[in-house]
């Protein structure tokens, strides 16, 4: 199961990663190797086997719908690459 360059570009776009043209072949090759390792499991018949999504088959614990966090906006925004007036700044998205 080998991926080609265009498939790598498609996945990279989904993951919001940039893959340089010069690296695309190498990345495609490495990922194809990993998929080959993964695909060993396709040989096993798993029909009627319930997927194990949690190692203890536990379900998520719920809590009361109450506010438990205090407002720490200033502290949390102090570590942002760019913020102003309580807002996170990003490149302009609306003309």
């Amino acid at each position: 199961m080998a991926l080609d360059k265009s498939e790598v570009e498609k996945i990279a776009q989904l993951a919001r990663l940039h893959v340089d043209d010069s690296e695309a072949e190498e990345v495609a090759h490495r990922i194809s190797d990993i998929l080959e390792l993964i695909n060993k499991m396709q040989a096993v018949d798993t029909e009627n086997i319930e997927p194990l999504s949690h190692p203890l088959d536990a379900v998520q614990r719920l809590r009361a719908d109450k506010v438990t966090e205090s407002d720490r906006r200033e502290e949390l925004q102090a570590i942002a690459p760019a913020s102003e007036a309580g807002l996170y700044l990003v490149p302009k998205v609306i003309e």
Binding site: I31, T46, P81
Partner: protein, 489 residues
Amino acid sequence: MMAAKTIAELARALRDGETSSVELTRHYLDRINQVNSKLNAYITVCEEQALAQAAAADLRLADGETNPVCGIPLAHKDIFCTQGITTSCGSRMLANFVAPYNATVVDKFNAAGAVMLGKTNMDEFAMGSSNETSYFGPVRNPWDTNRVAGGSSGGSAAAVAADLCVMATGTDTGGSIRQPAAFCGITGFKPSYGRISRWGMIAFASSLDQAGPICKSAEDAAIMMNVMAGLDPKDSTSVDLAVPDYTADLEQALNGLRIGLPRQHFAEGLNPEVEQAVRDGLKEFEKLGATLVDIDLPNNHLSVSAYYVVAPAEASANLSRYDGVRYGYRCDNPIDLEDMYKRTRSEGFGDEVKRRILVGTYALSAGFYDAYYRKAQQIRRLIKQDFLDAFQQVDVIIGPTSPHTAFELGAKSDPVAMYLEDIYTIAVNLAGLPGISIPAGFINGMPVGMHMVAGDFEEARLLNVAHQFQRATDWHLQQPELKTTESAA
């Protein structure tokens, strides 16, 4: 002077007035200053804060504090958030990240009076088995500095082995505590899934990640577990189960203990000398009254394949948060939002992390879910069932931690070859079970790790078995000389 003592020994020395926490802390800070440049075990050392914590610990000790970790110097893997101190996760993405809060594990050690010396090196986002993917450079093995320390908790393992701290924290998603512990000749313990809070522990693969102790003995691991384990309302995956005193059963005799030896772990691919060392270790258990039973884990060979779907898939979701908006790295001069996301992530993440994000994104992309993620979760059920069946016959399962001893830096450049490093440890994460690696011998001066697994939440049993082995042997007391051998290549 007081090199390489255990928590248990130093806790007594602190109470007998033989030393103080400040004296001990200075000793360790000096050692770090002298030795760390050879090993690269620490990313951050916090001298000032450590001495302040030590002075506070000495006051508590004078007041009769009984917690054995009070005043004991510790290192945290740089995956645990520490308020006011950089938490890099071994990545350029977080090289400037100072968390606004502490991980629960950090809070618990602080509350118990432990002294944090610094933050240890690790594979980037815990993705690696050699500590070579760290943005801050590889960790070197204290037994031979041309060799890897293992990963991803390589800094914690090397720091404990070289006595640059008394105890350290680690995390284990596919073997990241146990394999570096084996490579560095120390004790590394991964508890059951959910036993320790993951609040403030940077996420890699959420259905697998678990924190645990890295230290010099099983007794020390039990002492650390007493601090670390327990329900945390801030982590909904932490289990609501009473926490026993993990030191209470350490001295139980092993008469009648049934040990399972998985045929699949003593098979092709295992270095014969590693096998011999583990089998010699098993003879010790027979002397202690245990019986050995051959067992099968018939789906073990599928564990690496299933893991490399589950872990990258969960990682691709977890790491989508690194977008250059709220914290961490942001690229220079983005032309638009899309460009900012893409360049931030491409420049901030290293090659292995990007590779796993791509694999995970592919496995979760439209049309592939059933063939990959669902299939892997079904295999996971088979793997867990193998263990449940085995534990009908035996109390613990023992085998090698790794197929060989630590390899040379740069020896494994192929990702798939690196993934197969964790062939004996990964199934334990998929099944959520507790596992421990303890030293069981040496080959050409390099440590061999013995791997033990028990049923869900049977941590105390596992620590008892490991402790009894360490009472009968002295492999765990050996200390490295930080030598550098000529490369064989």
